[in-house]
Structures are given as C-alpha cells and as structure tokens.
Amino acid sequence: MATEKKRPINRLKTMYPLRALIDGMYQRALTASRAGQPVAWCMVNWWQGDPILKAMDVATVYPEDYGAVCAAFGAAQAYLEGAEADGFPAHMCGYARNCLGYTARMIEVGEIPPEAPMGGMPQPSLLLASGALCDARYKWFQALGRYLDAPLWVLELPHPGVKEALMVGAGEGNINFIAQQLGEFISFLEKLLGRRMDWDRLDKTVDNTMEMNRWWHRVNELRRARPCPMHSRDFWSSMPASLYMAADPGETTELYRQMYDEIKSRVDNKIGALKAPERYRLAFLELPPWHSLGFFNQLAERGWNFVIESWAYHPPQPLDLDRVSDPLERLARYSYHWLTGYYPKANEAGERWGYFAYPYLEYVRDYQCDGVVLHPLLSCRTATNHLMMVRDRLMKKLKVPSLVIEGDIVDLKLFDPARALSQAEAFEETMDHYKKLRKEAGFGW
C-alpha cells in the first residue's frame, strides 16, 4: 500500500501470510461444499474439536470470525437488522445476531448471499457448539435450528472455581469428563459421516496443534521486550491461524516460526512496533472494535503501544504431555490447562477468579504495562463481566490504571473513537502518576 510508509505502526511482514490463511479457510469450505463434502460451522473450542474435525477431513468455518469479517467489511449492519426483524433482542451477541441474520438471508435467497464477504459461509452439514466461556456459544447455534436442519453437537469445558478445582480428584475428574465427551463426539461424527476415525492421523494432528501453539506462545513471549516489537493489531491479524486452526497446523507452525525470527531480530535491534517512541505500554481487554481499528493508529501516534491483549485469544502456557499416549486425553488435558493453567498461582495470590481475571495480573506485570484499555461490550457479557473487577485488582495489586471505553464488536454505532480519544490526554497523566507510585513502591516498571 502507498500509505504503508505513513502508517504509525510497523506491521510485521510475517503477519501477512498468517492473516491470509483465513481466506484459505473460507475458500476450502466453499470448495468442499461444492464438491458435496462435509462443512462444519464451529464455535471457537480451544483445540478440543478442531483437531478431530481436521483428522476426519471436515472443512470448517467459524461464525465468530465471520462476525468480525462482516464488521470489517461493513456488511454486518444489514445482518444485524435481519436478526432483529426475526425477534432476537438487540442486546444479544453481535456475532450471533450477524450469524442469525446471515443465515436467515441465506435461506431466503436459497444460496450464499451475493454480497457476503470472503465468498460467504456455505450451508453447514454440522454445527459444533461449545460450552466454553459463554452461554451464547451454544444458545446461538441452537437458535440456528430455526433456519438449518444441520445436526448440532455441544462440547463442554468445565469452569471450576479456583478452590473447587484444587480439591482432591477434581482436576482428573474434569479431564475425564472432557475426554469422554470427545469420545462421544467422535462416534457421533463416524455415524454422521459414515467413516471411521484414523487414530494415527488424529494423534499426529494433535501433536502438530500443540507444536503450532508452542511457537505462537514463544512469539508472544518476545513481546515483553522494550520497545515491544509486536502491536496488538498484528496479534489480532495472526491469531485466527491458531484459534480457528485456519490451515494445517504443520503449515501454520512454520509461519509462526518465521514470525518468531522476524520479531527476534526486531528485539535484538531494539526495533519497536511503533514509528513513534514507545511512551506507554498498554494491554487491551477484550475484543477490539473490528470496524474501527484505525483508532489504534491515532493512539500509536501518541506513543501508545499495545503489547498484550485478551487472555482468551492466547494459547495455553506450555504443557508437557509426551507421556500421555491417548490423543483424546491429550486434548482434554490441553484445553483444560488452557482454562485452569493459572489456577495454582491465582490460589497462592488469594485470587478467586482463576481465568479472565487473574491472568491479567500476570500479563500486566510480565509485560510491564503502564495502563489498560477496557472495552466493555454492550452485546457481550463474557468479554465484559470481569472488566470492573480486573480494573480494581490491577489498581490495588499493581498500581496500574485502566481507561474504560464502551463499545461493541460489530455494531459500529456503539463505539465513539472521538469520545475515547478525548480522554487519552488525561489518561496519560494518570499513567504517569502511577508510574511514579510504582517506582516508589519498588515495582520493576
């Protein structure tokens, strides 16, 4: 792009091929559907179900991602109105309403709507919902039953409390439950597709998935450097490759490895993600306003670098599962670890909310953030419930302030960049103030 030079954020070159994988994902789904092969609409399931579907050659698309896509392409508004016209309350998940509206329209025109971005999501032969993190992610697919006769399967992920998770046998019990559910899912798939699972292949896919995330994790570890070499915008562009397993995990691993190298050399040469000097390091919680990401450029010009973001978008901390032979048990342990990995430390810290809330105490400390931007979403309880508590905890425990900016992920009318930017100057003074207090209190940054 001609404007590339003027961009206040140095985008990573290795980000572009990763971002492109998503296009590939939609393409594969379309091709599969034309060839009469199975296509699944999936909720993000944190690598519980994806490797299984990959191993059984089921093409996948993720309506959650498609919500972000439609927002970015400006196609969402019409779908949202469609969902409202069908009686779904406007306060419900923007991704969900986008998907319900899209599906209603697809049924109405009898094919993929011509205006659909990325070529659209083809008719699914299977819906894979998830009980992880949010009610909407199974209620919404259930509601799709109004339009689709595709069968629906729900994968559960236990969400114990910190104390309860650490009771004798609790962890193992939860893992068994997950593994058992994965087994049931596979036998359901075998019945649905009339094929048997190739267990060796699954075994390999599971390993590759974990290898992929291992590298993705290492990439993000490098962002602790000053100045931070990778801005959240690059994270958001590269994340779908892991979160949606947009391509074969082996291929993706290679791309993350290349990203690691590019960032490593930035770190070695003290090159930051901003053109301007890094005046402030910030974390962004949770989902970004996909329809006005330019907002971050304006903040970048002020020297605001976003160095870490939503816990839920990040891969789990590394976990050694070499001694676990059963691939389903490996998956179960892995996704359970993703959610509860921080629990033991949370417990030591006396924190009672082990995911969503506690991890940010570590993030903000390890990535030395001066401030946090909180983005409560009118239409997403899950990305919003914990924000006030996180704000309070960060202030009390780490003396790090937060700026609250109301908005939405899809409905652009709800996000007001001007109002947000008008508070930036005052917030800089706040960050300066607490930087001083942290120094006095002997914090490391």
Partner: protein, 287 residues
C-alpha cells in the same frame, strides 16, 4: 343499523398535545380540535373536549360513546372506556389506508411501530425509557434555534449534505447541535442531520416487525417533510402520510367507539356508558 344515528368521540391525550375527534351518525368527522400545545395544558383535556362539543354543536350527553387513548388516557373523567394508542392508531391508519401493513407513529415523546394485517393490529414496538428521536427532539431543536417547529423541515430540505449527529439523547443532541453551529456548520446541514437521526432511530426500532409496504407515517412529526423524506430514504421506498397525521389516534378511538356502540345496539344491549364528568384529568399514577 345505519338507521340509528349515533355520535361517538375519540380523545387522544398525547404527551404534548390533546386531540379530540367527533364522528356523526354516518361516521363522518363532525368536529376535530387539538388542545393548546405545551405539557402544562395536557391535563386540561376537558377544555379541548368542550371546544370540540361546541364546534360540533353537541352536548356531552348526546355523544353515544367516548373512548380515551394516548399517554394520558387513564382517569379521563368523561370517557366511557380507554384503549391504548397502539390499537387506536392501527384502527385510524387502516381506515385511512386499507392497504397499510406497517405504521410508524412519532408523537411528542413516544415513537411506535405497528404491524397491521387485515386492518387489525397484530404486533408493535415502542420506545420506553428514553425520549430520543421523538417529537420532543424537534421541539428542543426549535427552542434552541429560536425557530418555529414548522420551519425546521423546510429549512433542512435546503441542505446539500448532512452532518452526523452522534448523540441519541435529546438533550445531548441539542448540545451537539450548539457545538456544530459554533464550528460554523450550516444550519440546514445540522437540521438535516437531526432529522436523519430521528428517522434512523424509528426505522431501526420498527425493523423488529419486519417492515412491509404499504408503510404509513402518522403523528405530529409526520407533519415535518424532512423526517418524511429521511424515512423514505432509510426504507428505500415511499411512505403514505395522512392529510392530518395528528388526528390518526383520535380518529381510531372514535371509530372504535362507533363500532362498540353499533355492536351493542345490534345485540340489543345498551351501551356501557360511564358516569361522565367534564373535569380535569389527572395524568400521573404512582407505582
């Protein structure tokens, strides 16, 4: 049945205007009167009623049946029965436009969308906790600019482009408007923006009913050509507006009253009149 001559009246106690319409024995409008604008006078509905009776040359007793509707319909001491503005508007609309399937009504403080099938109300939406995008929005604008309410529409139609009005809150839109003016934005463009905001809001709300043509636009705000225009643009097709959009609710009430009365007579029952007192209405109810 039409041998029996029976007069009926509908009184629509809106949040900022009171409308009375009296139908004669043939169901033709015999008198229609609006009360003095301004919230202060709303409870004085009895005065408006008296005026209408005067215009019709009738006494209160000569009116066969009276239905009260609108924001202040409760406790009208001279009405025989109260019916919601939703039902009455639907009735009025389908009388004026039998082809109507959707009606949008913007009054002083309320905005509603009506879904009509075979002349009957089947579903509806309305604003509740906030007056954004209602007639009050325009009143405040007029007050702020020292213009007459009627001038707003004409002025804004002169605009060649529109400004975006971000605020949905009536009071804040006013502040935003002031700011825009001081930035030297042309008045017409700002007004166009305001009218746009009203239209977008009411249409977005009405989408919940699956808008189908013919769409009829009623209520005081329907007298504003710029809002009518903005709604057309937003919908992408034409909307029908009655000659006197303000009276749609009162008309509906009077028509319902007439149907009621005739039905009773047909069944040989006597009309369930209440004991009427031409006194002030109390509008407020404590919860």
């Amino acid at each position: 049945m039409n041998k029996v001559k029976i007069f009926t009246a509908g009184i629509d106690l809106g949040s900022t205007m009171t409308k009375v319409l009296i139908l004669d024995g043939e169901g033709k409008s015999r008198a229609q009167v609006t009360g003095a604008t301004g919230a202060e006078h709303r409870r004085l509905a009895n005065k408006v009623m008296a005026q209408a009776l005067g215009q019709a040359g009738l006494s209160l007793e000569e009116i066969g049946y009276i239905i009260a509707t609108g924001y202040g319909r409760v406790n009208v001491p001279f009405a025989d029965c109260q019916v919601t503005e939703l039902t009455c508007h639907a009735r009025g609309v389908s009388h004026l436009f039998p082809s109507a399937r959707t009606a949008i009504d913007i009054g002083g403080q309320d905005a509603k969308g009506l879904k009509i099938r075979d002349g009957k109300l089947v579903d509806f939406v309305m604003n509740d906790r906030c007056a954004a995008g209602t007639g009050r929005f325009l009143e405040v604008t007029a007050e702020t600019l020292g213009l007459r309410l009627e001038e707003l529409g004409e002025l804004s139609l002169k605009a060649t482009s529109k400004v975006e009005i971000g605020s949905t809150c009536t009071i804040f839109a006013q502040a935003e408007m002031v700011a825009l003016l001081s930035q030297g934005r042309p008045l017409a463009e700002i007004l166009a923006g305001l009218h746009q905001a009203i239209a977008s809001r009411v249409v977005k709300m009405t989408r919940g009913l699956k808008i189908e043509a013919d769409v009829v636009f009623t209520g005081g705000v329907a007298q504003n050509a710029a809002v009518v225009q903005a709604i057309k643009e937003r919908l992408g097709h034409d909307v029908l507006v009655p000659d006197e959009p303000l009276f749609t609710g009162a008309l509906g009430a009077a028509l319902l009253a007439r149907e009621m009365a005739l039905k009773c007579l047909a069944n040989g029952d006597n009309i369930p009149k209440k004991e009427r007192r031409l006194e002030e209405a109390s509008l407020y109810e404590d919860y």
